[in-house]
Every structure is written in structure tokens, then in C-alpha cells.
Symmetry: C2
Subunit: 464 residues, 2 copies
Amino acid sequence: MRKRRIIIIGAVAAGTAAAAAARRANPDAEIVLVDQGPDISYSACEMPIYVAGDIASDDRLVRFTPAAFSERYRVEVRVLTTVLAIDAETRHIDLLDERTGEKDQLWYDALILATGVRAHVPEALRTASHQVYVLRRLEDARALRTRLDRDASGHAVVAGAGYVGLDGVEGLTGSGWRVTLLASGGRILKGGLDPEMSLHLGRWLSSQGVQIRNERATGLDVSPDGRIRAVRTDAGERIGCDLVLAATGTRPNSELAVAAGIKVERSGGILVNEALQTSEAAIWACGDVVAYTDLMTGSSHPVPLALNAFRSGRVAGRNAARGGVGRAAAMQKVIHAAGVSVAGLEIGHTGLTLEGAVSAGLDAVAVDIRHRSASSNSPNKPLYVRLVGERGTRRLLGAQLIGEEGAAQRTNTVTALLRSEATVDDAYALDYLYTPKLAPAHDTLFVAARQLQKKLDASGRPSA
Amino acid sequence: MRKRRIIIIGAVAAGTAAAAAARRANPDAEIVLVDQGPDISYSACEMPIYVAGDIASDDRLVRFTPAAFSERYRVEVRVLTTVLAIDAETRHIDLLDERTGEKDQLWYDALILATGVRAHVPEALRTASHQVYVLRRLEDARALRTRLDRDASGHAVVAGAGYVGLDGVEGLTGSGWRVTLLASGGRILKGGLDPEMSLHLGRWLSSQGVQIRNERATGLDVSPDGRIRAVRTDAGERIGCDLVLAATGTRPNSELAVAAGIKVERSGGILVNEALQTSEAAIWACGDVVAYTDLMTGSSHPVPLALNAFRSGRVAGRNAARGGVGRAAAMQKVIHAAGVSVAGLEIGHTGLTLEGAVSAGLDAVAVDIRHRSASSNSPNKPLYVRLVGERGTRRLLGAQLIGEEGAAQRTNTVTALLRSEATVDDAYALDYLYTPKLAPAHDTLFVAARQLQKKLDASGRPSA
């Protein structure tokens, strides 16, 4: 019997998880793992640590080299290889080896798309200059680090205040550079924080020496020799600088899929069923390129998180490998829960923001509290919490936490409540630890839940 | 119409919460708050901070003085007043003013028992010497602190390795004393930690200079002038020392209740219904003296935690005050979730230990993992986790966490899972934050849940 051939396109978190899962599920399959870049199996979330110079080498971000992965999982790994086209009809892909320029074709029984997202740089910031950096792939981090090794200090403009922008702030300030962060409309982590919480984060970053400007980059001044001189903004300003990090969003790498007739949603995320099968039966998808079903709203859109990449890789790999034999694995619905550490501050958010809840058509309210990470008689730091809940049902919808201590792990507690469809009353009823040096007698989440109960009581069925 | 008179016996966390709630529920009631000691409304959990000398004065532990509380809530506060008897038939109590020696009687419409627990000192450690200390009430902490102010260093034997024993270790070592901890059978925090986890804690304490001995105190050597010379143990040892802290357990202060015909459970905790009414209709109970219903097992026993004291005080106060008018408030079932910080280590536990689960008749298994508080490329500390689950149902039963960072807050996440009757699979499915400086890519709880899934798979229905 001919061996089943599984091809996986993309070899970072999801792709390598898929390859490993496929191997476990099918010891005999022929598995080919393809990536456009030189690296596989690296930790993108840790790139700020490397950019900041806190670890000696980018080796520390790489879990497996191509050779090591190949040997460990008996997988053919082709790096620096671009997939030119997918033919879902005849089940083959066209490949280009970027080193040799040679083209190739490979037939598959199962194809897994783990193509991820790419940095999106708007027209205004595109230039021949090598001084506009992005921070998406390990090569990007390496290029930026090389620059910072050459120039121990300087002024960087980070255009965009999402996760990548904050990672850039962390890496650049950690490396001794002065940073101006362009946060259009004053919004930082817009997808995860409501404006009120953005403000706390902005104030903190300012206090730590980061210049925040509520502006958007609209162009570049580049010298004749290709050096960046300044960033121009929508406020008519010219901000002189030595480098620019374009943290201006990402786009799903789903063009190949679309060209092959695979269905995607509005933002380009690949649509899948619970088994992570795309609209083409022999093609699965996993990782950041996938449109996941959001547990809170039921809508489908990309939720680019490492744990989703890992989980979806396992599901897609197993299902692609089993060839109809055995029970299909299922990808769970996801909660958008994420966190970041920047300039010594912890930020965590989970579920829906008030903006997100309202735009999903929910009758939502929010409360904001400032409490403490520990008892007032112990060393403690302020902790800002916003809780979001639904009128009528009293369902807890989400939380945002910001503080120097205790924000990230408290976020997980709220996520556990959200997964159990907890009400605000359930959040209040939780048996929070009181450990004076680690948590106040009335934990910050307990206090926030109480405030949200009162707000909901004022507008609906009272709490018990 | 005569005003409703509510008497509350005991004025620490639960009693003062009850008084405040009674006042809110009934603006006209006459409320009398009685306490045997000189202090009310203090934070017992923070006494180690005071004993260690980390705060200047015991004032910092007191939320309200008797006068301030009396004014704020329009409550008559009688301190240094002992209740001699309760007559449930005629609804009155007999009182003794310890300062004047005068006796008094007070009639009530509603009585609330918030009498708490007392330190239990076994016969072997009872002595006329003032050098055997306990650590239960604020007076106890004050006495110990006074001693430590006099002698800047010395050797203390802490007899007993429960929460009070560890609080003693924290206070005494923080104050510069050398400490020997007697942990009978090698068990530390026996009610919250299985033997395997006790071991980690014991090793840490040893590494921090605390001498741990698997012995039990069986007697004292006291010099003719009343000074402690040594503690004798069941191993036949004599441990020379300058003071002894008897951390040898507590007993519910329920004798008055029993004498009044109120029903208690085996260990002396007062039995109550959901409204916290005792077996006598006009008498309620709250705080550490109450036998709460454990959510995990359905059994009733004291669960002496600050948040239970606060919650139960509110419920008892409201119900006692309403006089049958309006809807009765209900006390929730509780989860035994607690934590402590000692010698720079965080300890948290929630739900059932393996021992506790087995003795409750459950078919339970446990896994132990050692993982990290953060990513391996960031500063991180080892984190030890034990998860307990039930065969067959795959229900999560409890967790124990020990580490220098991130143990306490992760405990709350498990408590949220327990409250929603989560399975081990639900614990694995949680959307844990990955924030390299704050949590590893695969959070410690995620890794532990995976291990427990595998163990349950090996002995029952496999995971999805």
C-alpha cells in the first residue's frame, strides 16, 4: 500500500505541532514540512527578549533546527522554499527552492495550511530603505538586533500600538534606545483594551520615558543615501528618528488558499469546521491563519495566540494523518485571552471589551476599579481592573487588568469563569485566596465583581 | 413599636461584618457587639507582618477601634466582656465586665454567634511560664512582639506546622530569631498539602535556615524562675530554646452554644442552615465557629478563612436583622482554598488533597509536576504543582502549588474551575495566557492538566 503523504506549509508553532501530531497518529506517513524562511519552530513571542539583548543568541528562541526536527519526527523539512500554487483538484503543490531557483511539484493526500500572518506595512511606510523594520518572523528580529548591535543608542519611532508595537517598545527600550510610540487616536492594544484602560497603559509608558503620540504615520523622509530622517504623521508633524518599526498590523497569508478555491472570512482568515478541515476536503488549516470560533460571540475570526497555534496544529495534524480512520479530533472554541509585559508593567485581558461586546450586539456595561496586588500592610502595587458584564443575563463578558504585579495570572481566573459561562455573581462567589503578601483580603477581582453586581442591580434583576 | 435588639458575640472579622450588615438591613435596630478581648475588627492574617517587625505598630492591623466602629455603625460595643451563658428559652445572655467585675443580663430578639476559635495548647505545653506563646488573637501577637522587642535574637521552637506555625516561622525569622519547626510525621500544612508537597515546602524552609524536625512536643523543661529551657519531643530529644510558640491547633469556641442546646458537629463547629440559622431559631452563627458545607464533598466542618468570615457575617447580620421580613440571604457552599507566604515561598491549595479525596470515598488520583513560573528565556522560578482528579467522572478535585512566584494566583484559577465542576479536560482546554516574562508558553497548570489527562486515560475513558 502506498504511504499517505501529508504536506504542511508553514513550520513555526502550528506547522511543527501539526507535523509532530501527524507523525504520532500515523507512523508510516510520508510527511513534508515546507517553510519560506530559513527558520522553523521558533518562539515569536520571545523575540522582544532577544531584540532587547537579554539573551545572547537567537538560538535560544529556536526549539528545533530543521535537521533536528527532521530527525526527531522523521519529517522531510524544506526551508527557504516558496509554495507557488495549490491545486486542490489534482492535489498537488508547486514549489520554488529559493536557493537553487529550481521548481518542483509535490502530490499530497492531505495538505495542512499553517501559513500564519505577515506584517502589513502600509504604502506610506514602504521604502527601499533598510531602516524600516518589521517584527514578525525570526529574520525580522535578527535584522533589528543586528542594527541595535551596531548602534547602541538612537531614536526609534514605533508606528502602531498593538502587540507588535509593544513588543518593539520592550525590545528597543531594553536595548537602550529612545522610543516614540505612535498610537493613533490614543489607543494602545485596541483589540484588548477599552479606551479607559489604554489610558493607564499610556500613562505608565510615558512615566517610563516612552514618548506617546496620538498620531498615525503618513510618510517617511528618507535621505538620498537611504537613511531614514523622519516619520511624517497625520498631525502634520515630522518626527526625526534613526529607525522605524512598522507595527501596523498583520494580514493572514491566505492568498494561496483563496486562489485554490478555499473559503475565507472577511479579514482573510481561513474558514474551517470543527475538525479544522477547510472547504476543500483534503486540506486542513491551523495556526494564526485560521478563523476560529469565538466562544463569547460565536463569530469566526483569527485569534493569533501561541496556545491556539499549538492546539490547532495537534488537531489538524491528527485529522490529516488519520485518513478517515478513527475519531476526528475537534478544535475547541476559543476565548481571546492575551497578555504582555512591557516596561515592567503586566497587562492581561480576556473575553470581550466593552467596545467588543457592544459591537457584538450585547447589552453590556463595565466597571473600573483601582485596587492593590497585595494587602496595604505589605509591599503592594496598584492594580487596575475593568470588568464587563451583560445586563439581564448578568453574564460575565470579559476583563482587562493592568498593574506591576498580579495582572496576568488573575486574567486566567477570569478566563476560567468565562469558560463556565459564569455570571458576575459567580465571580463574586469565588473563594479567592487571601495571603496578605500576595493578595488583599478582598481580592481585586472580588472587589471588581462586587462593583459590577451593584451596577447590574441598578439596571436589572438584583444579586442574591 | 419596640426596636429589634440584635446581640453579636465576637467582634473580629465575622462579628463586625455581621454588625455592619445588620445595621444596613435594619436602620432602627438596637445592635450590641460584645468581645472578650480588648480589640475588635483586626486582621489576624497579617499578624506575622507585625510580629516580624515589618510594620511599626499593631494599629496598622486594626480597621476600627471600638469607638470608631460604634460611631460609624451606631452599634454599642462592649469589649473585655465575657458572655457567661446563653438562655435560648428566655432569649437573654449573662455577661461579665472583666474590668469592673460587674455582671449584667441582656435580652435579644436575635443573637449572632461569631465566637471564632481559640488556640488549643495540649497539656504537655501548658505551663505557668510566660514564654509559651500562642498566636491567635491580637493580644497574642502583641505579647510575642513585646518579647521580640526585648530580645533581638534567640532560638524559638514552633510546635506545630499548620498555618499558625508557618505564620510563627515568618514572624520569628523575620524578626531575626532562629527557628526550629516541629512538624510531626514530617507533615507541613497537613490539611492542605499531601506528603509529597509537604516535602518541597520542608526542603525550602530548611534551605532558608529553618530547622525542621519530624517530632512532636511532649513536654517542657522550665527553670525555677519560670524561663523555658527546652522542649522535649516524642523522639526523646531535648531542644534547648528561648521561647516556644504553641501552634498546636485550634478549637471552636462553641461551648456556650452547646450549653444553650445548639447543635454542633463532631469537631465542635456550629451546625447551621443555608441562612446560617442554628438549631435555635433566634440564634445565627458566622465566622470560624461555623460548620460550612464543603462544595467538593457535601460534608460540614469549619473552614476558617477570612472571606468566609466576611461572607457569613454579612448573611447572618442581614438575616438576624430582617426579623422575618424580606428574602433570607443564603451562605454559599465553600471551597477550602488557602495560601500562605513563608520565607519567600508562595503556597496555595484549593479543593481536595489526594488524602482528603480518598478519605471522602472518592476514587482519586494525583499527578506531580515541576515546571516554571515564566518562560525559560526569562527570569523564572521552579513551580511545583499537584493536581488531583477523579477516575471515571474525570472531575478535577483539587490543586496544590508551591513556588517562589505565581503559585497563589494560579490557585484561584483552579478554584474557578472547581466551582464550575470542571473536568480535567476543561482544565486543559483553558485559554492560559502566554506572556514569556510572566507565564511559560505551556502554562504550568496546562502541563499539569495534560499529565492528569494521561493518567486518567490510562485508567478510564480517554480524553477528547
